[in-house]
Symmetry: C2
Subunit: 244 residues, 2 copies
Amino acid sequence: MPESHTQPARFPVTVDVVALTVRNDALHVLLITRLIEPFRGMLALPGGFVLAGEDLATAASRELAEETGVGRVPGHLEQLASYGPKGRDPRGDVLTVAHLLLAPDFPVLSAGSDAEHVAWYPVSHVLDGELQLAFDHERIFADALERARSKLEYSPLGAAFCGEEFTIAQLRAVYEAVWGTRLDPRNFHRKATGTPGFLEETGRTTAGDAGRPAALFRLAREARMSIGQPARAVLNPPLMRPRE
Amino acid sequence: MPESHTQPARFPVTVDVVALTVRNDALHVLLITRLIEPFRGMLALPGGFVLAGEDLATAASRELAEETGVGRVPGHLEQLASYGPKGRDPRGDVLTVAHLLLAPDFPVLSAGSDAEHVAWYPVSHVLDGELQLAFDHERIFADALERARSKLEYSPLGAAFCGEEFTIAQLRAVYEAVWGTRLDPRNFHRKATGTPGFLEETGRTTAGDAGRPAALFRLAREARMSIGQPARAVLNPPLMRPRE
DNA sequence: CCAAAAGTGTTAATGCTACACCCATGG
DNA sequence: CCATGGGTGTAGCATTAACACTTTTGG
């Protein structure tokens, strides 16, 4: 970090969050409707300016909490990448540090902070162009989706979409929704339960649904560290998504 | 990117680069010796402030070129992650966007820009604590190393450490240096040459060394896109590093 | 001819895919 | 007792790891 010849410029820095969840077996993304210019009336990723004395992860979860009206945002938050500062905001050069949240479905209290409408939207509607995003958020969203998809292969973070306890079928539904593929239930079951350090049996089972009750699992201790925290538990060999 | 209640703070933004290369079969990292406070006399990653109107990748390669005295920096440059802005620089809150460069061995012209000594250092000396880095650069370095190691598994970027043309043995030496493991030459050869879309035969061979001459290869067209550019060619199935 | 490095063949172990089959529950 | 989903067994295929062996050069 040596000094440059030129005066160091100072930039406004924002955090934007691509929050993903699975509801009704479909992947959804959290979007706000902008009520002010620029891009008034358009959809955008939730986010906001980093305040003085604040860290990136702090800013990201603060903004999310403010805009969704949730006390503490559940799930796994991680940094994605930074974009800019050149030419991505008509008002001037703004650097944004994008983040990725993988979360269980949680209700958003729409009139969160400053009258910006927040809601979950199906990812498919963004991908097929039916919903358009402001700024360069479409690109950030695409990068986030690719990151999420590849994370499921080699990390236990698929479970970040589930609650504390979940069945193998629920976990499989996550993989199918994120990857957009069908997976063989039997082979998935074997792979998920057979991977050391991934899942832990709770001993309890579901009841009330059709068919045989399913055993409930939770993330194993070592894997649980990586939800919300930077630790790196790894699935080895990876759970590979089918190619083309 | 909605407005916050508070006045948006403005931050100085730097780019830091973890430049890696393989020389003498050992992984090396490019470091500068700081000649000014803070951390005067200590080693640090090359980098500097992002200028007004500049993009992150531009700033990173500009700083690298300035500090090494090289016209155009060779190899593959990609963004790693952002750190800060809180509490990482004693002079105040500075956000840094770290980058990763995988490059063939190139000479650094030491009196590059503003009298900061630049040189390649063995990665092992940083890992074992013999060399200590300023700021939070030790952590950034660790993240970069892990990124480089995993990139070799599923991307063709190992070739970014080689020149235009290279033998399979040279490529294998890269993998061994980065991963710190030995690989079976025969199996590596088969895997490297047998992976579709990875390598392309040039038809030419080496001469003058001991033993049978080796065939020279270059990256296949589709894989070459990902050197220096954001494209994502993928090795599938991955070339896995041995675990523990 | 010998040493050295490049490159090929072969075999056993491992992991994955596909699918037959059994298990446990609700209606 | 049947439909529904949970869960296990197993055969065939692909990939890998280990290593014997052949090829092609320089000395």
